[in-house]
Amino acid sequence: MNAAVIAQNLVKTYGTKKEEVQALKGVSFEVAPGEIFGIIGPDGAGKTSLFRILTTLLLPDEGQAQVDGFDVVKDYEAIRHRVGYMPGRFSLYQDLSVEENLKFFASIFHTTIREHYELIKDIYEQIEPFKDRRAGKLSGGMKQKLALCCALIHRPTVLFLDEPTTGVDAVSRKEFWEMLRNLKQQGITILVSTPYMDEASLCDRVALIQNGEIMSIDTPEGIVRSFEHPLLAVRAANMFRLLKDLQQFPGLLDTYPFGEYHHVVLKPETTEQGLYAYLQQKGHTETKLQQVEPNVEDCFIALMKTAT
């Protein structure tokens, strides 16, 4: 089966010789048709540069990429007809109404709102009561829905969403991911970037990216399985002192706060009992230790630390 997106050794550098910033240092991956593929990493990791290259808005310095079988440099016009792109920053016309924005994007792609209405129906119905309102006057959540409709109006084969959920609260984030699952049902390939590690589990496969390099590509389950060491969740009455004491304990590879617990990555030779005895001896009370499954954030932290 042909891949929907192929990136091969993409390199992008900004700035002058003196102060050079390498945004992408040789990024390669493939996305299968119909996949939800997550690019997960913090600000400055290179996510936006990557998306701009794949949507033909930026030329790579090195490497090649294809979208839907077309080359991002040679066949940029073909790609622009076939992909949908929702940039991280709201980029619709603020002084056009909701409906006017949608009509405008439809006419640019030589289509009509009606032609592919099925695709956007569920999303558009949520903002339709405000169709005469200027886009600039919409709330953040409604802007996001309108931008998604505009990116879908020509029924793209591949949809690029650059940080659609950044700065969005937990409830709206959940709703947005439900919309993406519905689009996947309709056969659209989705590339989505996010700084939120917990969104990894909602993707079919993810690439973890940091400092312009992909650290790992796998299914969310595969990423978690590759975590090599036993992981404990520990708590005690005084969490701040607990962290300081854990950091002093030689039997660990790493420890860091994780919600209501501190996570502890044990060295292979360290036992839970050994750690418990140490914490007792340090005078901790209400100490609780339990083995837990790592999640994608644990894996990201481990990968970041082995990289440096």
Partner: protein, 247 residues
């Protein structure tokens, strides 16, 4: 032990026309406390913070910040707080040193104080080598740590942090929280908003705003019990789903 109160709010309200953005919120925050101020987009957090920072006069209710009244003593409030957000923190085209000097100068710190504490700060953040570089060349994580240090450089009673860790990598995010803990240990009160629910667990107490009101207030432990939820994420979802107004 009862902490000394550094923020008190009683029935604090802000209306814009017939829209009530903040609807009679009441709470107290103690000295050295880390207070999480959560809520969905549009719940009224920003409006509430603006009133507490002396930037917006309330329509009704009472509040004091660092002992000063939010109606009559807004200038004293501004002098005794620090503020940092993801959107506004430092000037990108000033160097690290220039930013420190600029903000400390605005808060009226003496030349001597600035000189001594700048070196100490640069050492602590391991930024000596970068100190004469423009801030825009720093990675986001460093920038946010520097911004926080600058926000408390003038030794305020309270620091307001509005989504300080958005988009920051998971390792730096934790280093940032370590700095928050240290500031709190030294007696600075930390008032913080975040969209990361694991960070809600790091707060001493958390309030959750829904439609302009505070619908929940307590330690993370209490809230999880009260709402029969296993994590703060679930507490937040249970409350925020009740919201009737949009953003």
């Amino acid at each position: 032990m009862e902490r000394e109160k550094v923020i008190t709010a009683k029935g604090l309200t802000k209306r814009f026309g017939d829209f009530t953005a903040v609807d009679a919120i009441s709470f107290e925050v103690g000295k050295g406390e880390i207070f999480g101020f959560l809520g969905a987009n549009g719940a009224g957090k920003t409006t509430a913070i603006r009133m507490l920072c002396g930037l917006s006069i309330p329509t009704d209710g009472e509040a004091t910040v660092a002992g000063f009244d939010v109606y009559r003593q807004t200038e004293q409030i501004k002098r005794n707080i620090g503020y940092m957000s993801q959107k506004f923190s430092l000037y990108n085209d000033l160097t690290v040193r220039e930013n420190i000097r600029f903000f400390a100068g605005i808060y009226g710190k003496s030349h001597q104080f600035i000189k001594e504490n700048t070196e100490r700060l640069l050492d602590r953040l391991h930024l000596q080598a970068e100190s004469n570089k423009q801030v825009k060349s720093l990675p986001l994580g460093w920038k946010q740590k520097l911004a926080f240090s600058v926000a408390i450089f003038h030794e305020p009673d309270i620091v307001f942090l509005d989504e300080p860790t958005g988009g920051v990598d998971p390792v730096t995010r934790r280093e940032f929280w370590n700095m928050i803990y240290e500031a709190a240990e030294s007696g600075i009160t930390v008032f913080v908003t975040t969209h990361y629910m694991d960070e809600a667990e790091y707060c001493n107490r958390v309030s959750i705003m829904v439609d302009g009101r505070i619908d929940a207030l307590g330690t993370p432990q209490d809230l999880k019990q009260q709402f029969k939820a296993e994590s703060m994420d679930n507490v937040f979802l249970k409350l925020a789903r009740k919201a009737t107004r949009g953003e």
